[in-house]
């Protein structure tokens, strides 16, 4: 097997490099998480943080860390991860960098449901997630229902998604204008995608969804790189294309919708995470996990910038929006030049 060593040696080297890079990315995320705990109006030492987190009472630090910084950091990590995974799976599966829960109107659908929930039903945080999942899945059905039957996913779907998004946004605007003004601040803050006022009690469902669904996405996603070769090639290699697509869509829509219900739509994270992960690693292979970590880094870093870089505190969604919008324009420009639009 001497030849085997030579022909597969570069592959092995590349795999090793990717593993090291993944560890580096993980390290970066952990650094951001720790930094979010340490840094703020008051800078705490690791000793104080450790003591507070393990349940000892440290005057000042306990409140700041457990009530303010920890929920904020965890929410940022979990939501960023969920958006990143969802975006990457959508983009890869639909063969289109524009295809992600934001552009397809799935996030708007979920937002719309949550706004309705807050304004009319005064629902609890958990029911908000249920509303969001329902609206997210309904949007997917509206988008894919007609085309799944034809066994192909239509590129025009992106246009339908943009249409749906406009519709949902109109509904949201209408509701925010006509509704009870006392409820408005909460709605607006949430709509911008914000980690302000996050509490630990809001997080269990999101944590559960991320922890349980990520392995399922990874298992189903083993055939994700085969789907890139076209539906028929994937099928000839033994991929159950329909089942894989429906399964992955359902799982990632749930992840994105639950994350949206907790933090609000944090603009462009699901759009940016996949391409950034691909740039970091390679354009091929399966980078679902990396995209999740990139998503988490984006949200954590953007939130730190939003909180401390300016004299005024900006919600995280404003910062990711500022990063994402130019990228969207650039992507449209590139696709237009290649004749893909």
């Amino acid at each position: 097997m001497k030849e085997s060593r030579t022909i597969f040696a570069p592959v092995k080297r590349r795999k090793k490099k990717e593993r090291i890079l993944l560890c580096g990315l993980l390290g970066f995320v952990i650094f951001l998480m720790l930094f979010s705990l340490v840094y703020g109006e008051t800078i705490y030492s690791f000793n104080e943080i450790f003591a507070a987190l393990t349940g000892k009472f440290v005057p000042g630090a306990s409140f700041t860390l457990l009530t303010l910084r920890l929920p904020r950091m965890l929410a940022g990590f979990l939501a960023g991860f969920a958006f990143g995974v969802a975006g990457y799976v959508f983009q890869t599966m639909l063969h289109n960098p524009l295809a992600n829960p934001d552009v397809l109107g799935i996030s708007s659908g979920a937002s719309c449901a949550v706004v309705v929930g807050i304004l009319f039903f005064h629902v609890s945080k958990v029911s908000m997630a249920v509303f969001a999942i329902g609206a997210g899945l309904l949007t997917v059905l509206l988008l894919f229902g007609p085309s799944v039957r034809n066994k192909a996913i239509d590129p025009r779907m992106i246009i339908s998604g943009i249409g749906l998004q406009a519709f949902y946004d109109a509904v949201i605007s209408y509701l925010t204008v006509t509704s009870d003004q006392r409820e408005l601040p909460e709605v607006l803050r949430w709509l911008n995608g914000s980690l302000d006022g996050m509490t630990l009690a809001q997080l269990p469902l999101l944590a559960l969804v991320v922890v349980l669904l990520t392995p399922l996405v990874l298992i189903l996603g083993q055939s994700l790189s085969l789907l890139r070769l076209g539906n028929e090639t994937a099928q000839s290699l033994g991929v159950n294309v329909e089942k894989t697509k429906v399964g992955l869509l359902t799982l990632t829509v749930i992840m994105a919708a639950v994350a949206t219900s907790v933090t609000g739509p944090i603009a462009f994270v699901s759009f940016l995470a996949g391409p950034l992960a691909q740039r970091l690693f390679s354009r091929n292979g399966n980078h679902t996990l990396s995209a999740g970590l990139v998503g988490a880094s984006l949200v954590l870093a953007a939130d730190l910038i939003g909180q401390y870089a300016f004299s005024y505190r900006f919600p995280v969604g404003v910062i990711t929006g500022l990063i994402g919008a130019p990228y969207l324009i650039w992507q449209l420009y590139v696709m237009n030049k290649r004749g893909e639009l």
């Binding site: 097997m1 030849e3 085997s4 022909i7 597969f8 570069p10 592959v11 063969h95 034809n150 298992i219 083993q222 055939s223 790189s225 085969l226 890139r228 070769l229 076209g230 028929e232 090639t233 099928q235 000839s236 290699l237 033994g238 991929v239 159950n240 390679s282 354009r283 091929n284 292979g285």
Partner: protein, 269 residues
Amino acid sequence: MEKYQLKCERISAAYADEEILHEVSLEIPAHQISVLLGANGCGKSTLLRVLAGFLNSQQGQVTLAGKKLQEYSPKEVARLLAVLPQQRQTPVGTRVIDLVSQGRFPYHTLFGGMSQADKQAVEEAMDMVGVTELAEKDIGDLSGGQKQRVWIALALAQQTEIIFLDEPTTFLDLSYQIEILDLLADLNQRLGKTIVMVLHDINLAARYADQIFAMKQGRIIQSGSPQEVIQVDLIKEVFDLSSVIVQDPVTNSPVVVPIGSRDAKNKRN
């Protein structure tokens, strides 16, 4: 060789309510090269897709080794027959070895990576089509003929008895067309692979096929060896073309020489 017998009985298939195939029955001869021949829109690609299990027939059934195709799991089918579709995508930046390695997917379990057997199969496949040297190359940088070889290596890595190819020579220069068909003939002879392909070039079909299935309007109207099938009447019926059949000086296979309306006029003068 009952084991890998592929046949279909009275299958009908439709796209969007339009019936494309009408009660087609055929048996693919094992260890031979079969060619589905016919004019554009006659249903030959559809038939290939039904035989490969990509498209479910509305009536009738496809059986592989005595069992209905639908009763196999997708991975089981992928270990018995490989398909090279005409429409496929090569993601930018894909390396040859990474693409060919995907051919082992049907053998992978939930958590297993590439085993030694997988690596050996990939290596053999690449060696057989002569792309070992290109292992680290980006597929986008290869010539049309090389690309086609790489895709054939992908199918070979699946280590199936049967290989389907939909128009494997389209968009290739003539020299590459011959190169690819020679390669397939060689795989058929050396390894006994059963090869089924759709070709639109009658003369190439006659040259390489053991068995030709001539199709018209969703039906098989004639089947047999090239000598049996390639006749003036049949060419008239299938392609609506007047012709003279001569013998290929290189391979002795029949060659269709078309008579166009212009030629007919000139002849009269």
